[in-house]
Symmetry: C2
Subunit: 434 residues, 2 copies
């Protein structure tokens, strides 16, 4: 076979980037693929907008089925995102014997099992490097590069928008809402950036990474999610005084029989390599039982970085298709899947160190009452900062704890927030020291 034909569904930002890469870097791509990669058809509801690409208009269609049913197409590239009709298109393409490349993290996170099984049943490959970390080849690192390892820890900065917001809050001391407004007006965040800042997007990506690491789809709903919108510049500054940076982390940890899987703001030591990942950059920190600590860093979104990942998948498939081989690796890179999902430990059972900022009336005995409640819940204090009172007579009491149980922390916070001296909700941030 002297050429591989691909059909693209979705001619938005990533679709246009993919076409751009295939055209601009045609020579090096065919050299690395061992065959020409030819765009056969592109489907999008909008075939009129100018994407800045000179294309034969005959390639464009508004009907995705034209692409999926084209007998000459070997590979379908799904770039419309979301649940339906993306899922229907992918399943139909597989039934038609097409290999599939997708960037659709939400779909894989929430309906991965069905899609992975369909790929195996239909005897086609499914590649999804672009679904996590933009251009960072982290899916390949887990499927191939670290395949000798049991993965013990995954800690990721997986959402560029929230990392950008936290970076600016840290550097400029501006409150969350102002930075979000700026980011939206600069075109760096969607308006509103709900799924970016509430942890959903990062949790989608974490679900995919965990599924590959452990060889079985994970139940997305069980991943704990907490966003960054309640963080204040004060908390970031206090964290800094304790030697920490605040990041929205997606954490997966192998507990033997169960897993930790959670997304929330976390304090990490400032000398941790993840603490230096700023702006819109993503990074994934992994620990394997042989490789030890590893980090992967790059742009987690955007037209060209995401296209880099999509096209790398196309090249890998082309290398296989030209030899007529198939089934080198199942989607999750485990030949024997457990078949059932991985059990995620309930968040209440987490043990962690914690940061608290209590807002309380500046009266004698307040610290003692707070400390008493913490002690009742077996929460032991590691360090306290209490600064001068502010104009309103309330005072922030900031502390770090030793390891404590999440359920106890929640109970303590709830009791403290009910005290008559409480002047606002307690802020709690988990600390990652491991």
């Amino acid at each position: 076979m002297s050429e591989i034909n691909i059909g693209i569904i979705g001619f938005g930002t990533v679709g246009a980037g993919t076409v751009e890469a295939l055209m601009e870097n045609r020579e090096i791509i065919s050299n690395r693929a061992g065959t020409e990669v030819v765009i056969r058809k592109i489907a999008d509801l909008d075939t009129e907008s100018d994407r800045g690409i000179t294309l034969d208009r005959e390639l464009l269609t508004t009907n995705s089925m034209d692409v999926i049913e084209d007998p000459n197409v070997n590979v379908i590239v799904e770039l419309i995102g979301g649940m339906e009709p993306a899922k229907e298109y992918i399943l139909k393409a597989m039934e038609n014997g097409k290999h599939v490349v997708t960037a659709n993290k939400a779909l894989l996170a929430e309906h991965g099992r069905e899609i992975y099984q369909a790929a195996e049943r239909c005897g086609v490959s499914l590649a999804f490097e672009a679904s996590v970390g933009g251009g960072i080849p982290i899916v390949r690192a887990l499927r191939c590069g670290l395949s000798a390892n049991h993965i013990q820890t995954i800690m990721g900065i997986l959402n560029g928008t929230s990392n950008y917001i936290l970076t600016r809050m840290t550097r400029e001391g501006h409150p969350y809402n102002k930075v979000v407004q700026d980011a939206v007006s600069l075109g760096l965040a969607e308006d509103p950036p709900t799924l970016d800042v509430d942890g959903t997007d990062a949790a989608h990506k974490l679900a995919i990474l965990i599924s590959i690491a452990f060889g079985s789809p994970v139940s997305f709903e069980e991943i704990f999610r907490e966003g960054i919108s309640s963080l204040t510049p004060d908390d970031i500054r206090f964290a800094s005084e304790f030697g920490y940076s605040v990041k929205l982390l997606a954490i997966g940890r192998n507990l033997g029989d169960r897993l930790e899987a959670r997304v929330h703001p976390a304090m990490i030591p400032r000398d941790h390599i993840l603490a230096n990942v700023n702006e819109a950059y993503n990074a994934i920190y992994l620990e394997g039982d042989f490789v030890g600590p590893n980090l992967y860093y790059g742009l987690g979104a955007g037209k060209r970085p995401t296209a880099s990942a999509v096209v790398s998948d196309i090249i890998d498939l082309a290398r296989h298709i030209r030899l007529g081989v198939n089934g080198i690796m199942p989607p999750l890179a485990h030949f024997r899947s457990t078949g059932h999902g991985i059990t995620i430990r309930p968040m209440e059972e987490l043990t962690s160190e914690f940061y608290f900022r209590f807002s309380a009336l500046d009266r004698p005995g307040v610290l003692s009452r707070i400390a008493g409640i913490l002690a009742d819940q077996q929460i032991s204090i590691f360090s306290v900062i209490q600064k001068g009172r502010d104009a309103g007579g309330s005072v922030p009491i900031v502390m770090l704890t030793h390891e404590a149980l999440e359920s106890n922390v929640r109970k303590a916070v709830s009791l403290i927030d009910q005290l008559d001296v409480a002047m606002g909700k307690t802020v709690m941030i988990r600390v990652e020291n491991r």
Copy 2:
């Protein structure tokens, strides 16, 4: 085929780590390979030492040819390192139709062309993830993950020993010799660690990375090499005052028709992600035309990290062998090699910013004479630090330049070192601001 048989040549640290991984993680490895991976034979001159591994003694042989000529062996894993007999073994194994996995960076850097061609001629695969960056899957990133890109820049901290030494010099302010002695006595460096600290080891790895990035072997001798042994804690401290960290960097840059390829101590801005790579860690920073900046970080050496890379290659080969496929990708992942080497631009043509520390008698007019020589060589000064004199009457004059030409800098330094007021050789460190 229900099992893949491997033969290991070299039962030293990495060989023992590889056996350890194959035994300890047998279940996950077979699950990811799709077949059992069986150790058929292990050759080493020393078959008596205790490696802490319980093995059938029948597996051990002192004769490497027993392994290479075993008709049941599919994959030869070469872990003895060095030029000969490693090269002979690899070529013989390929002629016998065996796929080869190697960690041998020196051999690939200096004789890569012959070995890559032999693999293609014999129709076998050659995998060498462990040759660069220990457990970091950087070879795969270049062969697969970033395959859609023209690689524009490679900047690597590729030698863990020298990074460890620089980290301790930076943190503790101790001189080079003392830190090296400590590292040797702690078993963290060889005695003497010549190839680690003089840039040779990093240059070997850079040669391999460049060869994959550009699809053609590079002439190792043309890679400029300068080591870290003349660096002093003073220079590291001055660099820090200017906002820089000092690292031994391996740099490759695509200049269109030619390449930069050089290894030397360099100052990088403290907020660059590479500046935060400390201790014995390695990291490779890459820029591609689509993916943008990327970083890969991890342990660049050691028994278990290196074994992680070796076994990941074995698993990839096993995935192919079980399907009877071959030739998915040539060693450098380019199907059309240029056939001739890449041209490296002579170091004299480098333009860079520079750091200088001049040691001169503390007399009127000295700075003016130095500045005059620099001006004559079109070297323009960006910033100067001149501190109080020391006991001997000499004074360090420290400066940063704007971009200047390496050949001019060498001429200027040579002229300045011949001044009657010169009290010692000028220290020059290149600054990487791009």
